[in-house]
């Protein structure tokens, strides 16, 4: 049982008024990225540099396409969360802080969408 009032508990969440979800999402994507990055380094990277035919055949495999998509989603999600923390820590001018955070979030979202479209297109063009 807590003697704190609901208002006190809400205020206790800190000056940013949120953060737990951000913290957890950064860790969840980090855990997912450990195996995905090892897979990306060993299998995707090695194949993709060989040339168009090999790279195309690699992405056309459903399992590879799914893992590549998962890697891209997790990496860009992790990236915009991380960039937000860096900007919040070092940029002390509010309008610039907000502008940079939004720029990084929009860039990561667009690049993730473009990457997924590229994977799907590459997979479809083989059939």
């Amino acid at each position: 049982m807590s003697l704190r009032t609901p208002l006190g508990r809400v205020r206790g969440l800190g000056t940013a008024r949120e953060g737990v979800h951000h913290w957890v999402a950064q860790r969840v994507t980090a855990v997912a990225l450990v195996p995905l990055t090892i897979w990306f380094l060993w299998s995707a990277l090695r194949t993709l540099v060989l040339g168009y035919a090999e790279a195309h055949a690699f992405v056309a495999q459903p399992m590879n396409a799914v893992l590549l998509g998962a890697f891209v989603i997790c990496a860009f999600h992790h990236a915009h969360l991380g960039m937000q923390v860096v900007v919040e820590d070092y940029i002390h001018t509010r309008w610039l802080e907000l502008t940079l955070i939004l720029t990084f979030k929009f860039t990561c979202f667009l690049a993730a969408a473009a990457s997924l479209l590229a994977i799907v297109r590459d997979r479809k063009s083989v059939v």
Binding site: V31, H92, C108, D122
Partner: protein
Amino acid sequence: MSNPTGRQRPMSPFMIGPYYKPQLTSMLSITHRGCGVVLTIGMLFVAWWLLALAAGPDAYAQFLAIASKPIGRIVVLGLGFCLVFHLLNGVRHLFWDAGKGLDIPTTYVSGWAVLVISLVTTAALAWMLFLRGGAA
């Protein structure tokens, strides 16, 4: 930013400069952040790579030609170091989040391990990129 006491408070990154002696722990911490920022840009290269692949054989050949230039190889090497370091040090952070390995001796052992493995891997990558004829 509101400041009830009216005093000038130190703002991050105040730790960098004459106030704190550089230590392995703090240097690895800022390197982790630096690598994270570089990897965000690196992911944009990954997106470019996938888009080039989807655009067809000509676009892909063009991308590989740029990537295999000396400047392209240097970028790949830099990104490789950042990726391995951030991955290994990230696992170190996850152990800390679980409350493991937070004592000072363990922190130093894990720190040196991350640094040495990253540098050895980067040296191997440099050999692949520049001496063995190049993977890209």
